[in-house]
């Protein structure tokens, strides 16, 4: 696994944030155990953002759901494909971009996720499908693009912790 932490963005064309912003890039072979390791590495890399527990758990949850989807669906649990993850702190929260070379999403559209239905009888309760519901609930500006043989998914996770302003 390769992790690069960039303390400060120097490209003037990039969205500028006051002070130091956190930026992370990870590339790793997509397996369930690597997803665990990647999440541990990301959450420690985001330590400098001083996230509150609630924001921190939302970020870990969304990234887990996205990475698990790539592992299980785009790469069909074969454990060979690479996944590339870019995270960047902005004034609006955490911008995320996830790139893989697996299969495209059905109908070129990220699923809506199932709306939970707690009133349904227990034996009819689904045991899956909550992942996309959670991703959509906890992110904004979600966009998906199939580009050549790659899937590019981008989204933003809003965080309550405002960046220090100079």
């Amino acid at each position: 696994m390769r992790t690069e932490a960039i303390a400060h963005t120097s490209d003037p064309k990039e969205e500028r944030v006051p002070g130091n912003s956190v930026e992370l890039r990870l590339v790793f072979p997509c397996t369930q155990s690597n997803v665990r390791r990647a999440l541990a590495s990301i959450m420690s890399g985001l330590g400098a953002m001083n996230l509150c527990d609630d924001d921190s758990s939302s970020i870990e949850l969304v990234l887990a759901e996205v990475l698990n989807n790539v592992t299980e669906h785009a790469y069909r649990d074969e454990g060979t494909g690479m996944i590339e993850l870019h995270l960047k702190q902005t004034e609006a929260g955490l911008s995320c971009r996830v790139i893989d070379n697996g299969e495209g999403m059905p109908r070129n559209t990220p699923p809506q996720g199932i709306a939970p239905c707690p009133n349904r009888p227990l034996d009819q309760q689904p045991e899956g499908g909550f992942g996309w519901f959670l991703i959509r609930h906890l992110t904004s500006d979600l966009a998906y693009m199939r580009h050549a043989n790659s899937n590019v998914l981008s989204f933003r996770i809003e965080v309550g912790q405002a960046l220090p302003r100079n």
Binding site: S33, D53, A64, P116, L122, P126, F130, F133, L138
Partner: protein, 121 residues
């Protein structure tokens, strides 16, 4: 998969000793729960005090563990950490389980003969 079980009169407690219930262990968890609760009493209390992180696969496995108990037995949950409770709340699956703040609370309604052991937690 690390689980502890304790048997009482009319209920059993399963304590999950993992700090993550996620896609990596969800299937294993559900299968292990099936084996452990095959002859379970009417109430099964799952103590999740040690679980710091739950994803949608883990949630699905907890729902699956409840379903495989059948209509005559119930899975109750105890000790949900905030990050775990959030997943249940956002998906509204908190309403299909009896959820106790902690294991002591779950056991407090039990006959006096059992509470001595319960307070050890």
């Amino acid at each position: 998969m690390q689980l502890d079980t304790a048997h009482y009169d009319g209920f059993m407690v399963v304590t999950l000793l993992e700090d993550r219930l996620d896609a990596a262990i969800a299937l294993d968890f559900k299968d292990t729960m099936r084996d452990l609760t095959m002859d379970a009493p009417p109430r099964v209390i799952l103590d999740m005090e040690n679980v710091r992180f739950l994803d949608s696969s883990g949630l699905g496995a907890v729902i699956g563990a409840m379903k495989q108990l059948g209509p005559k037995r119930k899975l109750e949950l105890a000790g949900l950490k905030p990050a775990v409770e959030k997943v249940f709340r956002l998906t509204r699956m908190d309403s299909i389980f009896v959820i106790h703040p902690n294991l002591a609370g779950a056991l407090s309604g039990e006959p006096a003969a059992n509470t001595g052991q319960a307070h050890a937690y």
